[in-house]
Subunit: 167 residues, 2 copies
């Protein structure tokens, strides 16, 4: 991931402003991700995290939000939405190291984006609602990354019509 202070790579374009300085609404952190990853050791994406065999992780929810877990079950797939608080927000065209030339930020899943919200589709491996701890099969986020939402994954709406791959 590009460091916040890296010079642009060839083909990259920056916004003329820092989106972090233009606050239209406020996000509140509801918990944290606990993972084995830190800057420099993190996998490139969720698939790599799973393949590593070291991607298992957990979510620790802050106390006021734990009642919100009622109805979730181990084995269920969920979305974890998290705030990539170490990402730069001013790159609008990027040249990923492993990509095929520069592309717009909205054509990429890069963590560098105007609003650094990531979403990971994961499976609940175990669940302690009273403690607010949700074990998940994998995550690619740094240890300590703030969580902003959890939603059930639903095949009927999360796979767009016509987009399902062959089994």
């Amino acid at each position: 991931m590009a460091d916040r202070n890296d010079p642009p790579r060839p083909g990259e374009e920056r916004l003329g402003h820092d989106p972090a300085a233009q606050v239209d609404a406020g996000v509140t952190f509801i918990g944290r991700l606990r993972s084995g990853w830190a800057r420099g050791t993190a996998p490139r994406n969720l698939t790599q995290a799973r393949a590593s065999g070291e991607g298992a992780a957990r979510i620790e929810l802050a106390a006021p939000y734990r009642r919100g877990l009622a109805g979730l079950e181990p084995g269920q797939c969920i979305w974890v939405l998290y705030w990539m608080d170490q990402s730069r927000r001013d790159l609008i065209v990027q040249a990923p190291r492993h990509g095929s030339g520069p592309r717009g930020t909205f054509a990429l899943r890069s963590p560098a984006r105007p609003n650094p919200v990531a979403m990971a589709a994961v499976r609940i491996t175990d669940l302690d609602p009273e403690a607010g701890v949700i074990g998940i099969d994998a995550i690619d986020a740094f240890d300590g990354t703030p969580v902003i939402d959890i939603k059930p994954w639903l095949d009927g709406i999360d796979i767009p019509p016509g987009a399902a791959p062959a089994p």
Copy 2:
């Protein structure tokens, strides 16, 4: 959708604080959704919006962000992340009108949640990157809803292993 000032329904639980008053990070609006929906007429979800035949919509991106569309193509599936700015944020257990009893907010896709971020998996029907206009096949959001991110939909990461339905 519950109105912000509705009294709680039986079985519902509220947070002891308003998450909107606890700002840990700032979201910046990058554009707006244009749809035919308003409070009172909106469909219950994206599937209903598609089935209605009136769900087609567009995203209008603010000028600084339009370069971020480079590399997207009509026909491609994308995630639209939007900020449900008319939703209440203090319900942690909810009793949906059409549900089977109270459930935690994180077991529901209800718009009422501590951080009112919604994600919709949609298909690009047409694209004018210079004007910042993206036609999409459907959306269930109110007209004027703020957009906070666009990402490519990727079957390899957006369908968790073992979760793909039979075709």
